[in-house]
């Protein structure tokens, strides 16, 4: 009830004040709340312009994909179409034609309708988002394009919906890089945020690990044994051109500095595993850690002022935070035998990590102040390599809960855990990109 009032007030203020409001002022969904209630959402089949067989088919796919994509966020409870008092062939889809009590009676608080036209290989789609209780249209967009771009068109509207409801860009423009050994060697693959269209990126025919996206998603760094030693490669994805850091010892765990052409990585040429700051072409700028023993797996705070990393300086692997301006290092984790694989949330407030618990590994989040460690996974056996979605609402990770290691996604609070994709072999080391690319 209270949310509804908030929604009403917020929508009214949007209408009264216009679109110049800053994002934070019209957040309907507060994604920092752990147990947020899912909003009941109805996405009926789209109304078709001609009603031809081909049009019906691609229109149905579009509605399904829109429904699945919004469901992916974890914010909504998608309502069963079987209960809808709505016939897309007979009923209209605009504000004046809709009968809102038909939607409130099935529990829908939000409704998305579509008007779909297929003309040769061109499509025109009108998409609208309604608040059913207020009987108001809150979004209305018309898209035209090629049928082949239908996926991107739908995702553009989904981004509008999420931006309206949360004030953030969501995840629909992001990709996930991961490691798969389906060819017999670990190689790097890239898929869309939802596991769509996984493609192999590397053909190193050698162990390849630790993919890391630059902020602009144009560069991917990784470690590979393709020349025998675990070397670091920094690849320009568009030009397929690479630079290499190939020092004696290990050259591993790259992490790009936010918004910069620089990255942190662990090198051991000095005889000790230390974290260094490198240029985007692989030249050492400076050393960032100085401690005897293992220092590995850096992750940047979103403002680029701090790194979290793993060190065994206290005797066991634990996570530390270093303030790069002051040089001050604080230990972050104290519970658990071994805590590794830190991943700093893009929202800045939390760090996800992997904790070894007996014979199992589980994913936790902890405040950057070291307060409130929360266990997010419980399924045996190994849940590893957490990586945040660009909006900080979801976490990708690997798990062997169904046998082989696969990539899974859950919300930032550990709910809605689901497998992202099935491929030959095992999949590990997922890394979520920022929002930049068409999917």
């Amino acid at each position: 009830m209270r949310r509804r009032i908030t929604l009403y007030i917020l929508i009214m203020s949007v209408i009264l004040l216009g679109p110049s409001l800053s994002a934070a002022e019209y957040d309907v969904i507060d994604i920092t709340k752990p147990f947020l209630r899912k909003i009941p959402l109805a996405v009926p089949e789209f109304k078709n312009a001609s009603g031809s067989g081909a049009e019906k088919q691609s229109s149905y796919k579009a509605a399904e994909f829109l429904s699945d994509s919004l469901d992916f966020t974890g914010y909504f409870k998608l309502l069963d179409r079987g209960a809808f008092l709505f016939d897309p062939e007979a009923s209209g889809v605009t504000l004046t034609d809709l009968n809102f009590p038909n939607w409130t009676v099935v529990g829908a608080e939000l409704l998305v309708t579509g008007y779909y036209r297929l003309d040769g290989d061109n499509i025109a789609i009108e998409l609208r988002l309604f608040d059913t209780f207020k009987a108001r249209r809150v979004l209305g967009k018309k898209y035209t394009g090629k049928l082949a771009n239908q996926r991107n068109i739908i995702l553009r509207f989904c981004t509008e919906v999420i931006k309206y409801l949360t004030g953030s860009e969501g995840v629909f423009g992001s990709k996930i890089a991961f490691v798969s050994n389906g060819t017999g060697n670990k190689e790097i693959y890239i898929s869309a945020f939802d596991g769509y269209n996984p493609r192999r990126l590397t053909t190193n025919n050698a162990i390849t690990l630790f993919p890391a996206w630059s902020s602009d998603s144009k560069w991917l760094a990784f470690t590979s044994y393709k020349a025998g030693n675990p070397d670091l490669f920094i690849r320009n994805l568009a030009a397929a051109r690479e630079s290499k850091v190939s020092k004696q010892g290990i050259n591993i765990t790259p992490a790009w500095a936010p918004g910069k052409f620089e990255l942190a990585a662990t090198l051991s040429f000095s005889g000790d595993q230390e974290i260094y700051l490198l240029t985007g072409s692989g030249k050492i700028i400076k050393r960032l850690t100085k401690s005897r023993g293992i220092d590995v797996t850096p992750t940047w705070s979103p403002d680029g002022k701090k790194i979290a990393f793993v060190s065994n300086r206290s005797g066991s692997a634990q996570i530390y935070i270093k303030d790069l301006a002051t040089g001050r290092v604080n230990r972050l984790t104290y519970e658990g035998q071994k805590n590794t694989q830190p991943s700093w949330s893009p929202r800045g407030d939390k760090i996800a990590y992997t904790s070894q618990m007996g014979g199992e590994h589980h994913i936790f989040t902890i405040g950057t102040d070291g307060q409130n460690p929360v266990q997010l996974t419980y399924e045996p056996r190994d849940n590893e390599s957490p990586s945040w979605s660009p909006d900080g609402s979801l976490i990708a990770f690997s798990s062997d809960r169904e046998g082989p290691n696969r990539i899974y996604v859950m919300t930032a609070f550990g709910t809605d855990q689901r497998r992202l994709l099935v491929l030959a072999g095992e999949q590990t080391n997922p890394k979520w990109s920022m929002n930049h690319q068409n999917n």
Binding site: K186, I207, L209, F210, G228, N229, P230, G249, I250, I252, T253, T266, S268, G271, D272, Q273, R292, G293, I294, V296, T297, V310, N312, R313, S314, G315, S316, A317, K338, T340, Q341, T354, Q356, G359, H361, E384, S385, T428, N429
Partner: protein
């Protein structure tokens, strides 16, 4: 008189050896001081007794050394094996080897790659201390990427926490 000459020669040899191995000596020192409350207090600096001859049929590539969980310090048994390796390397003075550092699958692969790196370095530093030229030994870490044994048992994990000597 003769004793003195021998001493001088020995000293010279030590100095030359030090010159050649200065880079790795650093590693050995850092290794010995690593914060490791492991039950292997002997460590590298305990002046191990050199073994004159390796046992008959000894081959370094067929004798792995093993490590304790999450440790890169050398156990007394590993030191024993390495002394035989040193004797073998002295007898086979043209042989060069790559020391592979491996970890068991517990822990995550980033950390285990670093751990394997330290394990390979410990073994190399020990051999260099026994007079094997650093230039004959290279190291590589495979972390948990190349397990020998795939079961979920302590016995299996122990087999995987190894330093392997591959002859080049």
């Amino acid at each position: 008189m003769q004793k003195k000459t021998w001493l001088l020669i020995a000293l010279l040899l030590v100095i030359v050896g030090l010159l050649f191995t200065v880079g790795c000596q650093k590693k050995a020192v850092s290794q010995a001081k690593a914060p490791a409350p492991a039950p292997a207090p002997a460590e590298q600096k305990a002046a191990p007794k050199p073994v004159a001859k390796p046992p008959a049929g000894w081959n370094i590539s067929q004798n792995n050394i093993y490590f304790e969980f999450d440790r890169s310090t050398l156990t007394p048994m590993a030191q024993d094996t390495l002394m035989r390796h040193a004797a073998w390397l002295r007898e086979n003075s043209n042989a060069t080897a790559t020391i592979e550092g491996h970890a068991d699958e517990r822990g995550t692969n980033e950390y285990n790659l670093a751990l394997g790196d330290r394990r390979a370095d410990s073994a190399k530093a020990f051999l260099v201390d026994l007079g094997i030229a650093a230039s004959r030994l290279t190291t590589i870490s495979y972390g948990e990427e190349r397990p020998l044994c795939m079961d979920q048992t302590e016995e299996c994990w122990a087999k995987n926490r190894r330093g392997h000597f591959a002859l080049n």
